[in-house]
């Protein structure tokens, strides 16, 4: 029994052991942090490379305001827009009988990146409420597929990629 108790006595070497372990763990921690950094960076790149989803933005506005809204939407990295002549049918019978109703509308189809939708939504909402006679309706339909890399690049307005490739 006494002998075993004597064995417990050497405490000083234990301390150095502890210090050594601390040093080792610090070294490991440093290495791990560096490794984490290395793994994080390429992940970011992957995220950037993933194809962005596209949506079809449909905007219905008065015909004489069509160009204004097309220009507005174009600011949000939109490369292709189609506008077609249409007429509205909201209830204005009395005005129509008097020949005062201006129901000429334009439907604008724009292909837009999904991540730009909140911005364009905000801008359109503001213009719909503030611009005189600029009231309109807008909504988006998600696009499920696009065929062709060049077509996708064109629709996403990715000019840099197209130049390099």
């Amino acid at each position: 029994m006494e002998e075993t108790e004597q064995n417990v006595v050497p405490e000083t070497p234990k301390r150095t052991d502890f210090e050594q372990r601390e040093r080792v763990t610090a070294k490991y921690l440093k290495e791990m942090r560096e490794a984490l950094k290395r793994t994080k960076e390429p992940k970011k790149k992957e995220k950037e490379l993933a194809p962005k989803k596209l949506e079809l933005l449909v905007t219905i506005v008065n015909r004489h305001k069509a160009e204004f809204y097309q220009d507005l939407i174009q600011q949000f990295e939109v490369n292709m827009q189609m506008a077609m002549m249409a007429r509205g049918t909201a209830a204005r019978e009395i005005l129509q009988i008097l020949g005062l109703a201006d129901n000429a509308k334009t439907v604008i189809f724009s292909v837009i990146k999904q991540d730009r939708i909140p911005d364009v939504k905000k801008a359109l909402e503001e213009k719909f409420t503030t611009v005189n006679d600029g009231k309109g309706i807008a909504f988006t339909v998600p696009m499920t597929s696009v065929v062709g890399v060049a077509v996708y690049k064109f629709l996403t307005d990715n000019r840099k990629e197209v130049k390099e490739g």
Partner: protein
């Protein structure tokens, strides 16, 4: 993803757009947009289904809350469908990010 609104497309022969709109209004729609278009169905399909497809068409677009969709689709199918002179084809698409419908709708979409 939940869609609060749907857009109903109703493709009818030229001149039946307003009639389709009236039917939709009776079923609860408030307004719509009519676009002029041209059909291009194949001749063989025309003879097979015994319908004559006149090239001049009108596309009626109606944006409605999702819960109104079924009523309007049914009404259009019954009264402006393929069996009627309008030869209507009706379908709907779910849409999101709806702007400009009215104030209560805008509050829902926040």
């Amino acid at each position: 993803m939940e869609f609060t609104h749907e857009v109903i497309f109703c493709i009818v022969n030229d001149g039946f757009g307003d009639e389709a709109m009236n039917i939709a209004k009776k079923a609860g729609a408030t307004g719509g947009t009519i676009i002029n278009a041209r059909g291009s169905a194949s001749k063989s399909a025309e003879s097979y289904f015994h319908i004559v497809i006149q090239p001049e068409k009108e596309i009626v677009m109606i944006l409605v809350p999702s819960e109104q969709r079924d009523a309007i689709l049914h009404a259009l199918y019954r009264e402006a469908g393929l069996e009627t002179p309008g030869h209507g084809i009706v379908f709907s698409l779910p849409v999101d990010n709806v702007i400009g419908m009215n104030k209560s709708v805008g509050a829902e979409n926040k």
